[in-house]
Amino acid sequence: MIIFNYLIFPGLLFSAVIGLFAGWADRKISARLQWRVGPPWHQNFTDVVKLLHKEAIIPQAAGVMFLAAPFIGLMGLALADMLLGNSIISPLKSFNGDLILILYLLIMPALALMLGASASANPLASVGASREMKLAMAYELPFILSAIVVITKCGSIEIGSILSHQVIFGSNAASLSGCLAFIAALICTQAKLGLAPFEISEAEQEIMAGVLIEYSGWALAVFKLVKAMLVYTMPVFLIVLFFGKDTTPLFMSAKFAAIFTVFILIKNTNPRLRIDQAMRFFWGPVTTVALIAVVLALLGK
């Protein structure tokens, strides 16, 4: 049962399929916003299948981590998906402290990117890795602060009881502190997903795909899957933390679509920031908003 959960239903396969669809929706909506037609619905699946059939080149100077890194990200995210999905389906299945565990597991993709890029022995990849590292340090602080708001409001670090608390007392985002924390978490998630204003680590025009520059073939396909799964996981995590009142499949997918559309709109209306601007942004305004939210939550607002 655990293996089925991990590999098929709330875990690996399910999240990858939903994530690839969401990635297609991102490309299609972006295309429509620019008055283009956009790719067909199977585009992201086709990309992955094609990459799986291509030659995978391993640089001579690359370490073992070069091939291990994509799988570290994949396994970590699949585990996070399984825990999240199981807690949504039956809140009793979650255990004390799984919120903390998921917060750690959600850092895994960024960590995998850094490890893989550092192991690939490419100067541009190392620039990308250092940017990814700085960005992760920048967004993790406000992200964890906004998770602390939820912990304070629900008085628990267990996803199941956070969900049942919201079923009884209403969604966290309905209160002032929850709303502020949600805004901060939304912006952090944009950076976690590596979408437009914060796609600093793989700036295509600037450092030529940065962290992913040396990856080809199936290794690149695995990284594409990791990105797709992240696109599924992060909005679901935000829904669980802030909009957990109604978690029937219909409401879940409506909330998912709404949050994901916000990401796409932010992505299409903002130019890329420099890494120093991004760090100043996250440690300045975003952290301030998250701190205010923590204080308000402690006051019970």
Partner: protein
């Protein structure tokens, strides 16, 4: 047609190499991604790294400086890799035919799969070339 070819012709990722062109062909290539032509609807994308590429789009006459670099880039690309020569210079050296530093045309250096003539080729010509390429890939069943 097997899955491999089917997936390849639906998602050709292009790496754009300029071997010293006058920039006209490069502008026309970028035009293909604008709203009017939009070749992303066929799954074609410009990628930043050669390692992600399925096709090399080469513009410009091959001068002595760019020949070794071009060979290196071709070696760096994962196979199967399609080579597309864009513009008259890449095809036949055009006005640099008798120049002292342009010795060979592109097909003497790399195995070229598709030639798109024009100085510069219009976006319509580029799209027509891509259609020819897709038909060729369908037939060769590689």
């Amino acid at each position: 047609m097997d899955l491999k070819t089917k997936a390849l012709i639906k998602s050709i990722w292009v790496f754009h190499v300029s071997a010293g062109s006058c920039n006209n062909c490069d502008i026309e290539i970028l035009d293909c991604f604008t709203p009017k032509f939009d070749i992303e609807r066929f799954g074609i994308q410009l990628v930043g790294s050669v390692r992600h590429a399925d096709a090399l789009l080469i513009t410009g006459a091959m001068n002595r400086k760019s020949v070794p670099r071009m060979k290196k880039i071709y070696e760096q690309a994962p196979k199967p890799c399609i080579v597309i020569a864009v513009g008259q210079c890449a095809l036949s050296r055009h006005m640099f035919r008798f120049s002292y530093n342009v010795r060979d045309s592109l097909d003497a250096i790399l195995p070229v799969d598709l030639y798109i003539p024009g100085c510069p080729p219009k976006p319509q010509a580029l799209i027509a070339g891509i259609v020819k390429l897709v038909t060729k890939l369908r037939e060769t069943k590689r």
